[in-house]
Amino acid sequence: MAMKFEKKGEGVYALDVCGYVCPHPQIYCKKSLEKIAEGEVLEMTFDNPSSAETILQMLDQAGHDLMEKKNEGGKIVFKIKKG
């Protein structure tokens, strides 16, 4: 198990923190958003439901845009546009 942060294309980044529990998903989400530029997109995949509630509030407070939210058999995918 390892955290993966990669550039998928122009202005699109992927963060995979499946297997990680609190606080790792929320910390990695925050740090990834700090690394990318405004308007760029972060696709985050995680499977720790407790982190979702915190991440949602973090995005709202910081003014980022949650473009898409999916739950695929326990795997949660957030598509976030940095605001």
Partner: protein
């Protein structure tokens, strides 16, 4: 199809809990005392999972992500629980008892705070996360269980660290010599037991000024819990929410912010995570109801400890030398896990009854006759039902670094809960709401420890991010 399968599993778990309860009832009506713990545990588990209610995330998410939802949720729960606690105390229906007050509480809180951040969940949070299928939390609970059990029993070279004053104080209490053998025994009997246990309503200042039942509402609820909780809500708003909220608000209205805008900001913070805040209210009320029902069971069976009922049922070997078992009478987490660890070690041949913790105070019941342990099992199953219903259950084996964090964090939580006689629930939440200032001391310690834990994880994750970004 998957949804249907999950629903069937959830009902199967619920059916199992009903079956277990009926079997206990059939075995002996006295076990209804234990069954009450099972069902309150189940209720806590469902609420904790739905509200993502974890004390670790209260300070951790605030420091790591600037998100106050859990800190706010806990403070809301505290306000509601304190009012019910006061009502129960006023009607002589409370099982609450304050704990010895001293610097040990603060230090323990700090150790616990570091542990809960490393483990990814507090003592109650780790239990509900097991119910979500989280393998790392199983390791945390094992760390809590065995960390405590070993800590309370080790003597040998550690006895050299016992100060003379503790030895003298212990000797003056004339306890059975074969039960005072570990460092923790001297710490407990020669130090902690000599510390004052304070409940604001029972202090001369409040009991003289506030005769009758009002002292419970004013001293224990208002002064100990509600005012500090409200102050903390304002402080959290001022430091984490105010700037962003007022900026947004001023942009919309085009006017400078006034007092009403700040009230609107506080309200938006309280309602930002509805599921956490609503669960805060319900958990607070349920924790109060739990005390009421336990007191009712004690009155019904004419006992003050389940050990008496175990003895009546022919299980005196489960109890301590004083005929008691751990039976808190309210929501509590860590001691029962310590008993589980102690029970396993005892079965493996380690004499775990030659100490004060198990031998004199809490006993070492078989796990299936341990009332508080059933509460913990109830939390796991309650969370499992909830996570299955919301398609969030997923079994995840702990891997890589999480094995280290889970075990290390759990062990630190065990070591940080035992010297303070409780964890985030027993040493903080219950005490603060009951008018015991040692609860805040533990809380300050927890937050300080969590801050250190977050600093460490920030550094750790920054390193890993840098390695990942080296490629682009």
């Amino acid at each position: 199809m998957e949804e249907r399968k999950n629903q069937i599993k959830a009902f199967a778990v619920l059916g199992l809990m009903i079956l277990i309860s009926l079997l206990y009832y059939k075995a002996n009506v006295y076990y209804m005392y234990l069954v009450v713990y099972i069902w309150f545990g189940l209720a806590y588990g469902m609420m904790l999972q739905y509200g993502r209610f974890c004390f670790a995330s209260a300070s951790r998410d605030l420091f790591a992500a600037g998100v106050p939802r859990m800190a706010v949720g806990i403070l809301i729960a505290l306000i509601f629980f304190s009012v019910i606690q006061a009502t129960l105390a006023a009607t002589n229906m409370s099982t609450f008892h304050p704990a010895p007050f001293g610097i040990h509480t603060l230090i323990s809180g700090m150790i616990f705070g570091v542990g809960m951040v490393l483990a990814g969940g507090c003592a109650s949070g780790s239990l509900y996360k097991i119910g979500e299928g989280n393998g790392t939390s199983i390791l945390s609970i094992l760390g809590i269980s065995f960390g405590q059990a070993i800590f309370v029993d080790v003597g040998g070279p550690f006895l050299k660290l016992v100060p003379d004053s503790w030895t003298a104080s212990t000797a003056a209490k004339h306890l059975p010599a074969d039960k005072v053998t570990s460092w923790f025994d001297y710490y407990l009997t020669g130090y902690v037991w000599d510390k004052p246990a304070i409940q604001l309503s029972h202090t001369p200042a409040f009991s003289n000024a506030l005769p009758g039942a009002s002292k419970y509402f004013i001293a224990d609820a208002l002064i100990s819990a509600i005012i500090p909780a409200l102050v903390l809500i304002i402080v959290i708003y001022a430091f984490y929410i105010r700037k962003g909220f007022i900026k947004k608000r001023s942009k919309q209205t085009g006017k400078p912010a006034g007092l009403s805008d700040h009230f609107a900001g506080i309200w938006s913070m309280l309602t930002a995570s509805k599921r956490t805040s609503i669960m805060g209210v319900i958990i607070g009320i349920t924790a109060g109801l739990h005390i009421f029902v336990m007191k009712g069971m004690q009155i019904k069976f004419g006992v003050s400890n389940f050990g008496t009922l175990l003895t009546k049922m022919g299980h005196a070997a489960d109890t301590s030398a004083w005929g008691t078992v751990f039976d808190p009478g309210y929501w509590y987490i860590t001691t029962q896990e310590g008993q589980f660890g102690g029970w396993v070690l005892d079965k493996l041949g380690w004499n775990m009854r030659d100490n004060v913790f198990f031998g004199l105070n809490n006993g070492l019941p078989e796990p299936w006759r341990n009332p508080a342990l059933w509460m913990s099992i109830g939390i796991i199953f309650g969370a499992m039902i909830m996570s299955l219903m919301s398609k969030e259950f997923k079994f995840k084996l702990p891997k890589g670094e999480l094995i280290v964090w889970g075990l290390l964090g759990g062990t630190l939580m065990g070591l940080g809960s035992r010297p303070a006689l409780g964890c985030n629930i027993g040493a903080f939440f219950i005490r603060v709401a009951g008018g015991d200032p040692s609860g805040w001391l533990y809380g300050i310690g927890m937050v300080t420890g969590a801050f250190a834990g977050v600093k460490f994880f920030n550094w750790w994750s920054e390193r890993k991010m840098a390695a990942e970004m080296a490629d682009f």
